[in-house]
């Protein structure tokens, strides 16, 4: 399918600092893209570049086949953005806020009022719709800001750290909502976050950015596989294995490494099909198998592995892609 967002060596420099450097990525329509990276990595800057709010220093971008540097207004008409700060008019009520943005985005007068009611209802704000938003809690403001971003039924929804500063229940509600939006309504979602658990749960595709550069791109599982080609097995033997058992494991084709950790044998295998063979060999060598667990690498491992790579590369003065 046609990618809805494509960037080619997109770069933005502020003074001497490259906030985004040579960013090349493509996001397919209808996917949830997670943009991961630590503070100051360049996530927000990228969102601004894609919406034509900042002009790139170098490189190009296409959002819905339009160039943000030239057709920013047309792009923004079809994107909805939840900014890091909810950006609500606190002296106005929720309804007034939504009405204002609806008019600016050109939502038809007749449609607008029913859209507003529907969104307020969906986000549980209907009872307090005529209160000034200054009196809202952080979670309510966030919900209203998301409602605002959806008001004009955008093709792409940008969410910049949608759960930052929310309590676990409110964060959960936002995550569920994002999941619903992508599943039921087929929105393309571009989500900046440093919450790895969320990204892993929500995202079809993940890009890891660090110091302005894209360090990895793929589905959460792909990324783990790219970094760890093998799978880790933990075999619980209730005690250190005998030499026969050890040798039987090491002789299996596809076993790459064996470590003993107290009563656990930790085995690296090249793929999942090796697992039953290992178990059979252990048993026939007289080993008592109490449990077998596979440990998969998650996004968190990926993230910190990349961070380490960066630090190591920095220390050794070598460049590591």
């Amino acid at each position: 399918m046609d990618p809805i967002i494509v960037t080619e060596k997109l770069s933005k420099r502020f003074g001497d600092n490259w906030a985004v450097r040579d960013l090349s990525l493509s996001v397919p329509r209808g996917q949830v893209f997670g943009f991961l990276g630590p503070n100051g990595a360049g996530k927000t800057t990228t969102v601004r570049l894609l919406n034509g709010i900042l002009e790139p220093t170098e490189g190009t971008a296409r959002v819905m086949a339009l160039d943000p540097a030239l057709s920013g207004s047309d792009i923004r008409l079809r994107t909805g953005v939840l900014t890091e700060n909810p950006s609500l008019y606190e002296a106005l009520t929720a309804r007034e806020n939504l009405r204002f943005f609806g008019e600016v985005y050109g939502v038809g007068q007749m449609l607008l009022e029913s859209r507003i009611d529907e969104l307020l209802q969906r986000f549980g704000l209907l009872e307090r719709a005529d209160e000034k938003t200054g009196a809202y809690s952080r979670g309510m403001k966030q919900r209203l800001a998301i409602a605002r971003a959806l008001l004009h039924e955008p093709d792409i929804l940008f969410l910049d750290e949608p759960t930052a500063g929310l309590d676990p229940a409110a964060a959960r509600a936002v995550v569920d909502m994002v999941q619903g939006l992508s599943r039921d309504q087929g929105h393309t979602i571009f989500m900046c976050t440093h919450n790895l658990v969320e990204a892993e749960r929500l995202c079809d595709l993940v890009g890891v950015i660090h110091r302005g550069r894209l360090r990895a791109l793929g589905s959460p599982a792909d990324l783990a596989r790219q970094l760890w080609h093998n799978l880790t097995l933990e075999i619980d033997l209730h005690g250190p294995p005998s030499d026969t058992v050890r040798n039987s494991i090491l002789n299996v084709r596809g076993v790459e490494d064996l470590r003993i950790d107290e009563h656990l044998a930790i085995v690296q295998v090249s793929d999942a099909d090796v697992t039953p063979v290992v178990v059979r060999e252990v048993v026939s060598a007289g080993g008592q198998v109490y449990a077998v667990r596979t440990r998969e690498h998650g996004l968190e491992d990926v993230y910190f592995a990349l961070e380490h790579e960066e630090v190591d590369a920095g220390q050794e003065g070598s460049v590591n892609a």
Partner: protein, 275 residues
């Protein structure tokens, strides 16, 4: 190019004015200033001599002005009593500079609130992500300042006309206001200064972080008016109609130039970088 998003611009103007209504610090001065300048001060000046008796009229104060007035304006004043002369000259000429304070202050207060206020209240980013183009946003913000400035200035002119005619009637004996210079003053110079006030505030706004900051700097705008006032009452110079039209032309040119420059400093990418 697509059509301008007038509905969106109108929404911005309505939204900004709705916020002004909620912010006493912003709307109160816009009421108080005209009341003081266009009602209380002229009333005091006209009524004080009437209440205190003839001796209170200090001809010394209007003598320099009288000497400067062109013959065309003095014509018809010969039969006035000193008190009547005082009322007519002070309300028509001594007070004229005051009239410009309202359009300047209103346009700069509103421009500061609608531009810097948007940063201060952390709502600028949301606004920049809307489909409004830089020009649409800029024109809307300019209109937020200029439309009320012109309306309030017109309103205070009407108020002033009523006040001086009514308060001065017992002494002058006829409707004497507005005199000729007030037409270019109200309809040419006042809009010019409100546009210039807007232009200066726009430039300040690109740097200022808070409304108060922008306001304090904007206060400088009143200085030329004070200069005119002092010069006129000291008998240094008198601004007649033609000079006023000329000065207006200069102020218009400067104001429009400032607004032109301001459009560049308030571009999206500049605004987002200074949030």
């Amino acid at each position: 190019m697509r059509n301008w998003n007038w509905r969106g611009m109108r929404a911005v103007i309505a939204k900004d004015l709705a916020q002004v209504k909620q912010n006493t610090m912003v709307w109160l001065p816009m009421i108080i200033l005209p009341v003081i300048l266009q009602v209380l001060m002229p009333l005091g000046m006209i009524l004080a001599p009437q209440l205190a008796g003839e001796a209170a009229v200090d001809m010394g104060e209007i003598e320099p002005l009288l000497k400067m007035l062109p013959a065309s304006l003095v014509a018809g004043m010969e039969e006035f009593s000193p008190e009547a002369l005082w009322v007519v000259l002070s309300s028509s000429y001594l007070f004229a500079p005051f009239f410009l304070i309202v359009p300047i202050m209103v346009s700069s207060i509103l421009a500061a609130d609608s531009i810097v206020g948007e940063k201060e209240r952390k709502t600028m980013e949301g606004l920049l992500y809307t489909p409004l183009t830089d020009s649409e946003l800029y024109v809307a913000k300019a209109l937020v300042a200029v439309i009320p400035a012109l309306s309030i200035s017109l309103g205070s002119f009407i108020l002033y006309t009523l006040v001086v005619n009514i308060a001065g009637y017992p002494v002058v004996g006829r409707i004497f206001f507005p005199t000729a210079i007030w037409w270019p003053l109200v309809f040419w110079l006042a809009p010019a200064v409100s546009v210039a006030g807007l232009g200066v505030t726009v430039l300040i706004s690109s740097k200022a972080k808070t409304f108060m900051q922008a306001q304090q700097l904007g206060g400088v705008l009143v200085l030329p008016i004070v200069g005119w006032m002092v010069a006129q009452s000291a008998g240094v110079f008198f601004m007649g109609q033609s000079l006023m039209i000329l000065v207006g032309l200069f102020v218009w040119a400067m104001g429009l130039w400032l607004i032109w420059i301001g459009a560049r400093t308030l571009s999206r990418s500049n605004l987002i970088s200074r949030i």
